[in-house]
């Protein structure tokens, strides 16, 4: 299969189940909301080393308190890890940021207590407010109060949707990757947790060192073309991976579709996907099926 002269390999991305949450951060100005969101999503590229994956989703138009807001998606491999990540990151990155408040952004049947864990920071001076069906905690801080919703909705999500962009050189591959990230991020409910949405250090499972669970994906490293069983096309000299987590499989597929179409441009040799031979996750997102459009 070819798109714009770029070969689409008959490969599949191997995605796996995660738990996801959406956090809406508001502040007095859009800048402060974004500062808090970016701080909260720092060092959250991969569950392998960060405990969770998180990314800014978008500016949130209709926030609970009517102030400017930004939504953040957070993913972890279990509900318990997700709850801990939310408590830690909201506590350390959002509560500390001037003028912010933090709300649940997901209507879900299941939820985790986040505000009720953070309330102890109030040292007994915290107050709970029930407004309509929702409960909030008001935690006194030095510029007034930090308001945080008591429970945050959590859903079973999909992590690890991906595709690989093989470029004839670094510039072409990176330009294609940036175009792909812009297109994929336009889909609601997906997060691209890596720096700028792009991964250069793709991983394989395991290592020759026993203390490592993951290591460099040597078949895709151009500098190792002569030293390992390479998976690179002969013309490729740089590879970038786009990793996509989503609140459901549909948004991940759609983000992959838009991203791949945007990446098919001059200087790109082919598009493929990373998988682990079907051993890691139950979601096998075949690139050619993804490009055919949304599932019926």
């Amino acid at each position: 299969m070819q798109v714009n002269g770029v070969r689409i390999e008959d490969a599949f991305a191997e995605a796996f189940p995660m738990w996801g949450a959406r956090v809406v951060i508001t502040a007095a100005t859009p800048r402060w909301a974004l500062v808090a969101a970016r701080t909260m999503t720092g060092f959250a590229t991969s569950v392998i080393g960060c405990g969770c994956e998180a990314a800014v989703e978008r500016f949130w138009p209709n926030t609970p308190d009517g102030r400017p807001g930004v939504s953040v998606l957070v993913f972890a491999t279990s509900r318990d890890r997700l709850r801990r990540a939310l408590v830690d990151r909201i506590g350390q990155a959002v509560m500390t940021c001037p003028t912010t408040a933090c709300y649940n952004g997901l209507s879900a049947e299941e939820s985790e207590p986040v505000g009720s864990a953070l309330r102890y920071f109030g040292d007994g001076f915290q107050r709970r407010k029930r407004i309509g069906p929702k409960r909030y905690w008001r935690i006194p801080v030095m510029d007034g109060e930090f308001v945080v919703e008591e429970h945050f909705g959590v859903v079973q999500a999909v992590g690890g949707g991906n595709f690989l962009i093989f470029g004839c050189d670094e510039e072409a591959a990176l330009a294609a990757a940036r175009a792909a990230v812009r297109a994929a991020r336009a889909v609601e409910g997906v997060a691209l947790p890596f720096p700028g949405g792009v991964v250069r250090s793709g991983t394989k499972v395991g290592s020759r060192y026993r203390f490592l669970t993951a290591s460099t994906n040597d078949p895709y490293c151009p500098v190792l073309r002569t030293r390992t069983k390479t998976a690179l096309p002969p013309e490729a000299n740089a590879v970038y991976e786009i990793v996509i987590d989503g609140l459901a499989e549909g948004p991940v597929r759609e983000a992959m579709r838009r991203g791949i179409l945007a990446a098919c441009r001059e200087g790109v040799v082919s598009i493929s996907a990373a998988n682990f031979g079907g051993r890691l996750g139950p979601y096998h997102l075949r690139l050619q099926e993804v490009l055919a459009g949304p599932l019926s």
Partner: protein, 273 residues
């Protein structure tokens, strides 16, 4: 289908009609509804003596006429909707747990007394002790929302524990008396001794009010949670006449004579230093 009860004549003495509630009326035939009993003074009467009934028992009830002498409508109701096209009598929605009551006219005393859930909306004025505790009872309103778009008289929210009361017009004396929790929003200000003996909860006034000397000024700031209340009221079709916006509020805490952990927010014209 809607059940319509039209008052034929104003009762000579108060009529206690707590059976006018969706919980009781749903599923009843017209004849069953007409035969329901009510208390008129010291004797039992049938509803047919005072009401004309159209339709059959339903979760949606419409009451027509001046019901200012009909008490306990919707008492303890858990679901459904009552619309009163006229005035309502005492104890409207008392101990209510769910559903909605809309009064297109005025309401009398003890609206939503000790209610636990649901929504009561009065388009006109209300009397004394809205959402309050009955005499001798430790706790008043424990949940739900009461919206009075007009004014209220005294002791609104007395000993309320949870929930939200909004008063669009002016409130009488002792608003939030002995309040324990919940939120009382006063868009039109209040009389004297607001928050007296208050132990907890929040009073928000959009007008200057004369506070007891046992309330202490803490600071002036922009409380984010007031925006949540504002949007909640907007969703109920009751926008605040002066939006919260970016306005600062002066925070007073008390009542220190109890001592209490209550808070009174007064919309500030300017930052107080």
């Amino acid at each position: 289908m809607t059940l319509v009860l039209a008052l034929k004549e104003t009762p000579p003495v108060p009529l206690e009609a707590e059976r006018i509630s969706p919980d009781v009326l749903q599923g009843l035939s017209r004849e069953d509804v007409l035969n329901l009993e009510a208390q008129l003074g010291n004797r039992r009467v049938r509803l047919r003596e005072f009401f004309e009934v159209d339709g059959e028992g339903s979760e949606e009830i419409v009451l027509r006429g001046d019901l200012s002498r009909v008490k306990y409508v919707g008492r303890g109701m858990t679901r459904g909707r009552i619309v009163i096209q006229g005035n309502a009598g005492m104890h409207l929605g008392a101990e209510m747990r769910g559903g909605e009551i809309l009064v297109e006219g005025n309401a009398s005393d003890w609206v939503g007394a000790e209610m636990r859930g649901g929504l009561i909306r009065i388009q006109g004025n209300a009397g004394n002790q809205v959402g309050a505790a009955y005499r001798g009872s430790p706790r008043g309103m424990r949940g739900g929302t009461i919206v009075v778009q007009g004014s209220c008289r005294n002791e609104v929210g007395m000993r309320m524990r949870r929930g939200l009361i909004y008063v669009g017009g002016r409130c009488g004396d002792f608003a939030g008396l002995q309040m324990l929790g919940g939120t009382l929003v006063l868009a039109g200000g209040a009389g004297i001794r607001a928050g007296g003996w208050m132990r907890g909860g929040t009073i928000v006034s959009f007008q200057e009010i004369r506070l007891l000397p046992t309330f202490l000024y803490a600071c002036t700031y922009r409380p984010t949670f007031l925006r949540l209340i504002e949007r909640h009221l907007e969703a109920l079709g009751c926008p605040l006449p002066q939006g919260v916006g970016d306005a600062p509020f002066a925070l007073y805490t008390g009542d220190t004579s109890v001592p209490g952990k209550g808070e009174i927010f007064v919309r500030a014209v300017e930052w107080k230093t």
